[in-house]
């Protein structure tokens, strides 16, 4: 940090503990005025807790020691009343989940105006108006009409055109990206000096993420707002940050100018984080394809939408609209697309969980799913032949939600064994589950435990064990690594690559994360609004995309600079 620049926010040896459990240890770093500080770390590293400490919004029972200096005051010593003028006034905060950060019962304009009414207008604006200011807080109270006017202007500033999206709209009428713009508008409404963004784009699609990051960058530059950008994704931070803090286990392991930390001077942990972010299997791990395994032909899957009618069918929305592709034995195929493109519906159709409107899904020569002749959708997919069902298994995204919390791991992993024609005996089943757990690196002693006793990465390994226990030939990986930290993700991907090599498994790798798909697939399909817009060899698609949408998608992906040796 250069000496001529004053720190706007500085943490000085901050410790936080909840009860007797220490959460943060000696956190020390500076945020320079008008600059961006990236805070990177894996889950549980304490990065969100650091953000909450800066706002003094720590959970009940937490104690804080050390000094948090902001603009000449020590936030750690201020009383609640003084803090309230700072929160939302001098410091704005942007949360990860735009769905829950907004009140569903209030219009977006009202939610932005609320902060303005609460904190008033900053001195700078008030002087411009030539009106009285409250000497204590340096802000002037604002009337309802003026607040509404300012709110509209702020929404416009956050990229929501007042004509296209009037302030009278409600949150549910907006897309995820638009909601995040509202959250940003709330945060900047009172012209804060500092903006804390905690994983602001994690819940968003890549193209939306690129737009939101561009907006934050623009605000930071034009309004001179200092930005603390917290993310698990090094690449997101790399595009934005002037300075970087790397956290692990409640400690700062690296802090300084981004380039310095990112280059050779970083600690071993930081270097391992960078390596994990770029993980790719050893070349040669992929095998030549065998015969065709899964053939999807002109598949249409829709669901009813609009009001129910007394007579006649309801309108149908075609979530999957004429999709054809195939996966060969032992091949790894990626399917990428943004939310709402139909990839989840396609996955469910492939697994026989929803009926199809038209087209067929054939598997290893047999017909797995087809539209019934009378045009009605097949009921609940319970029509998939048993023998074929065991050939195609799935690993879901959510390592927390995809297991019944009331069953022990043994029973969870054994569940698909139900599909075998001859049900194995109790001891055979146990042996099989134990072997499978060993295979995925969990250890058979896990069988007696419940799922909540495992970490996210361990749970995904157990999910893989559950998928493989019936020896399928195709595994659908539905965002299977998206919820994992980079280092854990690299380990799980390595396991998947190893299993593919040893067992001759084929994968259908569904993901919104292009970098993951790029590293582990042979071919890739790009999906948009229910159709596949581009398909081809992964290297070819990434290097020379043909479709405009693929190019847009690739351009939006934040990239990690190659670290200097």
């Amino acid at each position: 940090m250069r000496a001529d620049e004053e720190a706007l926010l500085s943490f000085d040896d901050v410790d936080v503990q909840i009860g007797d459990t220490p959460i943060l240890h000696g956190i020390t770093f500076d945020v320079r005025a008008g600059c961006t500080l990236g805070v990177v770390g894996e889950s549980g590293s304490g990065k969100s807790m650091t953000a909450l400490a800066a706002m003094r919004l720590l959970p009940r029972g937490a104690t804080l020691s050390g000094a948090i200096r902001f603009d000449g005051r020590d936030l750690a010593r201020l009383d609640e009343r003084a803090l309230q003028t700072i929160r939302g006034g001098d410091i704005g905060m942007i949360f990860q989940e735009p769905m829950t950060a907004l009140n569903p019962l209030k219009t977006i304009g009202a939610q932005v105006a609320e902060g303005i009414r609460l904190h008033g207008v900053r001195r700078g604006d008030a002087e411009r108006d030539g009106s009285d200011t409250d000497r204590r807080s340096g802000a002037r109270a604002v009337g309802v009409a003026e607040a509404a006017r300012l709110a509209a202007a702020t929404l416009e500033r956050a990229g929501l055109d007042n004509r296209a999206i009037p302030p009278g709209r409600y949150p549910h009428e907006l897309s995820g990206g638009q909601r995040q713009r509202v959250v940003i508008a709330i945060a900047i409404a009172c012209r804060p000096k500092l903006l804390i963004a905690d994983e602001p784009t994690t819940a968003l699609d890549v193209t939306t993420q690129a737009e939101i990051l561009a907006l934050l960058r623009e605000l930071q530059r034009e309004e001179g707002i200092a930005l603390v950008l917290i993310s698990h994704d090094l690449a997101v931070v790399a595009d934005m940050a002037d300075d970087l803090v790397v956290m692990k286990g409640g400690r700062v392991v690296d802090a300084g100018a981004f380039d310095t930390v990112f280059a050779a001077t970083g600690s071993p942990y930081t270097r391992s984080l960078i390596a994990a972010s770029n993980w790719a299997p050893e070349s040669g791990a992929r095998r030549a394809s065998g015969g065709e395994l899964l053939v999807v032909d002109d598949l249409v899957v829709g669901y009813p939408t609009g009001p129910r009618r007394l007579f006649g069918a309801r309108d149908r929305f075609r979530a999957v609209d004429g999709v054809s592709f195939r996966v060969d034995a032992g091949e790894s195929v990626g399917l990428v697309g943004e939310s709402g493109c139909g990839k989840s519906t396609l996955t469910r159709a492939l697994l026989g969980l929803v009926g199809v409107d038209a087209g067929t899904i054939r598997f290893a020569g047999g017909t797995m799913v087809e539209a019934t002749s009378d045009g009605r959708r097949t009921a609940r997919g319970d029509t998939v032949p048993r023998a074929l069902r065991r050939e195609i298994q799935v690993v879901f995204q959510d390592p927390y939600g995809s297991f019944d919390p009331r069953h022990r791991v043994e029973r969870l992993v054994a569940e698909p064994l139900h599909l075998l024609d001859t049900r194995p005996s109790r001891s055979a089943r146990r042996a099989r589950v134990a072997a499978m757990l060993e295979r995925v690196g969990i250890g058979s002693e896990a069988m007696r435990r419940y799922i909540h006793e495992f970490s996210g990465g361990q749970r995904q390994r157990i999910a893989i064990a559950r998928a493989l226990v019936v020896e399928p030939s195709l595994v659908v990986l539905d965002e299977a690594v998206s919820a994992l930290d980079v280092s854990v993700r690299a380990q799980v991907l390595a396991l998947l690559a190893e299993l593919a090599r040893d067992e001759g498994l084929a994968y259908l790798f569904i993901s919104h994360d292009l970098s993951v798909v790029r590293n582990v697939t042979d071919r890739v399909l790009v999906m948009r609004t229910g159709r596949i817009v581009e398909a081809g060899n992964t290297a070819r698609v990434f290097e020379a995309p043909e479709h405009a949408y693929t190019r847009e998608l690739l351009a939006a992906v934040p990239t990690l600079p190659t670290p200097a040796r």
Binding site: V394, F403, R406
Partner: protein, 271 residues
Amino acid sequence: MKLRALLPGSTLVLIVVLAALASFVWTPWDVTRLVIADRLQGPSAAHWFGTDHFGRDILSMLMVGARTSLAVALVAVGIGVGFGVPLGLAAAARRGSLVDEAIMRTNDLVFAFPALLIAIMITAVFGPDAVNAIVAIGIFNVPVFARLVRGAALSLWTREFVLAARVAGKGSLRISLEHILPNLANLLVVQATIQFSLGILAEAGLSYVGLGAQPPTPSWGLMLADSQTLISLAPHVALFPGLAIVSTVLGLNLLGDALRDWLDPRLRHAR
């Protein structure tokens, strides 16, 4: 962890259950013995809880009355759970279908009638009797459980672990029994304790208006009903049946809380 509630909860419930069981073989006094000379006595060494306006021993009546109250509430909750839970599970498993509509609209129909009126109707047709009270209260527990189960099951059906079970080729019956029902257990336990408490109160209410247990069979509700004109003269006649109801309901709620935590492996293993 709420297992702390287990001890007071189970103690209270145990006392009531033991008192009810003991009354089959022994009570301090005979509850059918009327000694007008001893009427409305306060608590004493001979009569711990005093006597009522016929000179009957209140403690003995409470013990015998516990049989009626517990039996009514238990069977009424049993009817509610026994019919309501399968109906709710079926409606959720076939959500949006005719089966679902038929089940839920029938529930609405039952809900639409005031419970007390139906109970009065049933007893008017079949005569006032504790058994009829049980049936009447039980019928009104059915939609309570059916609705609760359907709502909670619907959200469980969208969870990924249920999808995983479907990918594992399990049908809706097996999924309902193996995954949905165990995950509803905590809700059911809590609701069952609430309905149990309401059942005791409902029996008290029906007996109060003379449609529940018939004299000389003692019941807590009947005792309260009899005491109302005497409340200023001998408050203990109302106090002890009231206390019995309150402590049973309290004990059941505490027990329900503890049971709910114990049923959840995540909470059971937490220290």
